[in-house]
């Protein structure tokens, strides 16, 4: 029954009903607060997606595919209708690769040329406004600042995807281990696709790994 339908003078009854409505409101399950990720990358992640309010750390040596994996996470957020932002201190992020991986360019913004001393402030400001912040971790990041950002992400229900050596706790740690490239021969062909080897690093020891394909 709609509250507006009750007589206006019956304030007591309205308050009582509002209180009841609050109590019987359904619980929000954790998986309802996740951004779903399709495909094998989603199968690798706990609950098949990105938990809002958590930190995902992606690491790997240069060229191992860490950027591709992290951009896929950003693509999942924009595909769900959310806004995403990236912090890219040395302005090397490839915009074309991002759109090819499915990032919606109209809801994706990159902050370039961030000085080290303002890095944490910029990331904190972005966490206030968008659902997913994709950051390239600067080596100068202090563990204290990183912990504050973890708290900020939790408070704002935003996902922080940290690319590089993340010095604080993370809900999920992924490691890109490279993978075979297809399509290129000895002087022939063209790069076409890559089989990405991605491992999820468990707390303690051990890692579950999986290979994902990126088609051209």
């Amino acid at each position: 029954m709609a509250l507006a339908a009750l007589p206006r003078r019956d304030r007591h009854a309205r308050e009582h009903l509002a209180d009841l409505a609050r109590r019987v409101r359904p619980v929000v399950f954790a998986h309802e607060r996740a951004i779903p990720i399709a495909g094998e990358l989603g199968e690798l992640l706990p609950m098949g997606g990105l938990q809002r309010g958590s930190v995902v750390a992606v690491d790997g040596v240069r060229g191992a595919g860490a950027t591709t994996v992290s951009l896929r996470l950003a693509a999942a957020a924009t595909a769900a209708g959310e806004w995403a932002a990236a912090v890219d201190p040395d302005a090397t992020l490839g915009g074309l690769a991002a759109t090819e991986l499915g990032v919606e360019p109209e809801r994706f913004v990159v902050v370039q040329g961030v000085p080290d001393d303002q890095w944490a402030a910029v990331v904190a400001a972005l966490l206030d406004g968008v659902a997913l912040v994709h950051v390239t971790v600067t080596p100068a990041l202090r563990a204290g600042d990183a912990r504050r950002l973890v708290a900020r992400a939790r408070e704002r229900d935003a996902v922080l995807v940290a690319l590089g050596a993340w010095p604080a706790e993370a809900a999920v740690r992924l490691r890109a281990d490279g993978g075979a490239w297809h399509g290129l021969g000895q002087g022939t062909g063209l790069l076409r696709a890559r089989t990405h080897d991605v491992a999820i690093v468990e707390r303690g020891a051990g890692a579950r790994s999986r290979t994902l394909a990126r088609a051209g």
């Binding site: 806004w83 090397t92 000085p115 002087g187 062909g189 790069l191």
Partner: protein, 538 residues
């Protein structure tokens, strides 16, 4: 006749103001050819913004790439733009002029204008006024700055008169303008059209009947025609905007830093321009007033020939406050600034729309989806722009081009998302097909590409490689490089072959290198016998 619908104006301009400022901060480059580059974070980063006369004599012009400028002029001193320093230094000049007339309007650091009617009468004529201005500028310690002063019957003509350092007699504005080429109108495309129609000078263009110009060229031509006839762009008599449109912000606690005030100014500018837009108005001239805890005040009038955008307005607030607040943050040697430096934090900021014109239509973006989320995101991006400057927050727009870097234009947040080049399949022969590299190095990092005998691989003008690449070495690669396990190319790119200055000949390779523990795919470009790592498929 021409002077009746225009205000006689004095323009004080300092050509290549960024260079002047760079030379004041670094006296060692006084006699050397000097250029100032666009600031980092702008979408034109690395391009020349201003060049000294010595550098111009060697053929260095604004818009060139740094490397090109250095190639043209040996011993070139390169500085990077410091917007704050430019605004600060110009504040000294603005104050020197303000002693003589209160109605100065700043276009940007390096150029200001004011109506001459009052001051000219007071000081006994235009020539006497110019002499006074020169004295005042020398007294302010700016004797070494190449200041040019011009007076003419309209704002536009005054700007041109300043280039020649002349005073145009009353009634002689149309005659003065007649000899100038049409490209001084500032719209290269339109000027090009006029030249092709045989109208080479402003005089020839001004002789056309206004109605015919409006019919043939539309509003753009109409505006240009007004300028060419020695009139002001907008009719000068405009109703004062209603007082409730004044936008005020009180800082509690007082703002101690410029970026805090700039951030507030961005929101205020949004509200002010929204309120004006609701009345169908746009703002061309705005007064920025600020007050500190101790009652010190600053007030400046900023002018923009086209309608101001929120970002442009916030930038002007920043310039003004940089010049004013920054004086108290750090010791500077300019006595004039130090004399009335700010002693307390900022308590109030006011934006007063001083001149408004009917808005001629602005395309508003249509965002689907959750409007609240878009608002929240926009606020966060504005906050970051307040911290780092408007050009640091960019969004990708896919456009046409051959290399991965060319294929994306980074558009500053808040500006229209339009590609520079059309993106059509087939119209870019030689473009590298997908997948695109996820990391594009700016600038490309030097690497060494060698064949199995250890000799560097070269590519001939016909595109033949001297050998098959067998190893790639460079500090940017993990483990310092490794053996090549797959390659394709070289593909020749002869870029802008019709332009002897901008022409670049490049050869590209796509390589897969076994570096450290991974197979790393990358793009390597060869130019003038040297190899660079351009992009990594990360």
């Amino acid at each position: 006749m021409a002077d009746e619908a225009a205000i006689r104006t004095c323009c004080i301009g300092c050509p290549d103001w960024p260079v002047v400022v760079a030379r004041r901060t670094d006296p060692s480059c006084r006699d050397q050819p000097t250029v100032v580059l666009e600031p980092p974070g702008s979408n034109r980063v690395g391009l020349v913004r201003a060049a000294s006369p010595e550098a111009r004599a060697e053929g260095v012009t604004p818009g060139l790439r740094r490397r090109e400028a250095e190639a043209r002029c040996a011993g070139l001193v390169v500085h990077v733009t410091d917007v704050a320093a430019e605004a600060r230094a110009f504040e000294v000049l603005a104050r020197a002029v303000e002693v003589m007339t209160p109605r100065i309007m700043l276009d940007r650091p390096g150029r200001l204008t004011f109506p001459t009617r009052g001051p000219s009468r007071y000081f006994g004529g235009d020539d006497a006024l110019v002499a006074r201005l020169h004295d005042a500028i020398v007294d302010a310690g700016l004797g070494d700055v190449p200041v040019r002063i011009g007076i003419a019957g309209s704002r536009f003509a005054a700007g041109l008169a300043a280039r020649r350092n002349t005073v145009v007699p009353t009634g002689g504005t149309a005659e003065f303008l007649a000899d100038w080429p049409v490209r001084v109108l500032g719209d290269p495309e339109f000027a090009d059209l006029l030249v092709r129609l045989g109208l080479r000078t402003l005089g020839a263009f001004a002789a056309l009947p206004p109605t015919a110009v409006l019919a043939r060229f539309g509003p753009v031509g109409h505006d240009a025609h007004r300028l060419a006839r020695g009139l002001d762009l907008h009719p000068p008599v405009l109703a004062p905007p209603p007082p409730e449109l004044v936008e005020t912000h009180d800082f509690e606690p007082p703002a101690e830093r410029v970026d805090i005030a700039t951030f507030a100014a961005k929101t205020m500018a949004d509200r002010l321009l929204d309120a004006l837009a609701a009345r169908g108005l746009a703002c061309t001239q705005v007064i920025v007033e600020a007050e500190t805890e101790h009652g010190e005040q600053t007030s400046r009038c900023w002018r923009h020939d086209r309608a101001l955008t929120p970002a442009a307005l916030a930038e002007r607030v920043r310039w003004q406050l940089e010049g004013w607040l920054a004086a108290s943050e750090r010791p500077i040697d300019d006595d004039l600034l130090a004399a009335d430096a700010v002693t307390a934090g900022l308590t109030q900021l006011r934006l007063v729309p001083d001149e408004v014109v009917p808005a001629v239509g602005r395309q508003l973006g249509f965002w689907g989806g959750d409007a609240a989320a878009a608002d929240r995101a926009a606020r966060a991006f504005a906050r970051v722009q307040g911290l780092l400057g408007p050009d640091a927050v960019v969004s990708p727009v896919v456009q046409g081009g051959r290399t991965p870097a060319e294929r994306v234009r980074w558009v500053p947040w808040g500006e229209p998302r339009e590609p520079l080049r059309p993106d059509g399949h087939g119209s870019w022969p030689g473009a590298i097909p997908p997948p695109a590299p996820a990391r594009i190095l700016r600038p490309p990092a030097p690497v060494e590409i060698v064949d199995d005998r250890g000799a560097p691989v070269q590519v001939s003008a016909r595109g033949d490689a001297s050998g098959a690449p067998s190893a790639l070495r460079g500090d940017v690669l993990p483990g310092g490089g490794g053996t090549v396990v797959g390659w394709a190319g070289p593909w020749l790119h002869d870029v802008r072959w019709w332009d002897p200055v901008e022409r670049r000949r490049q050869a590209r390779w796509q390589l897969v290198v076994h570096a450290a523990t991974v197979d790393l795919a990358c793009l390597v470009v060869l130019e003038r016998g040297r190899a660079f790592l351009e992009a990594i498929y990360d």
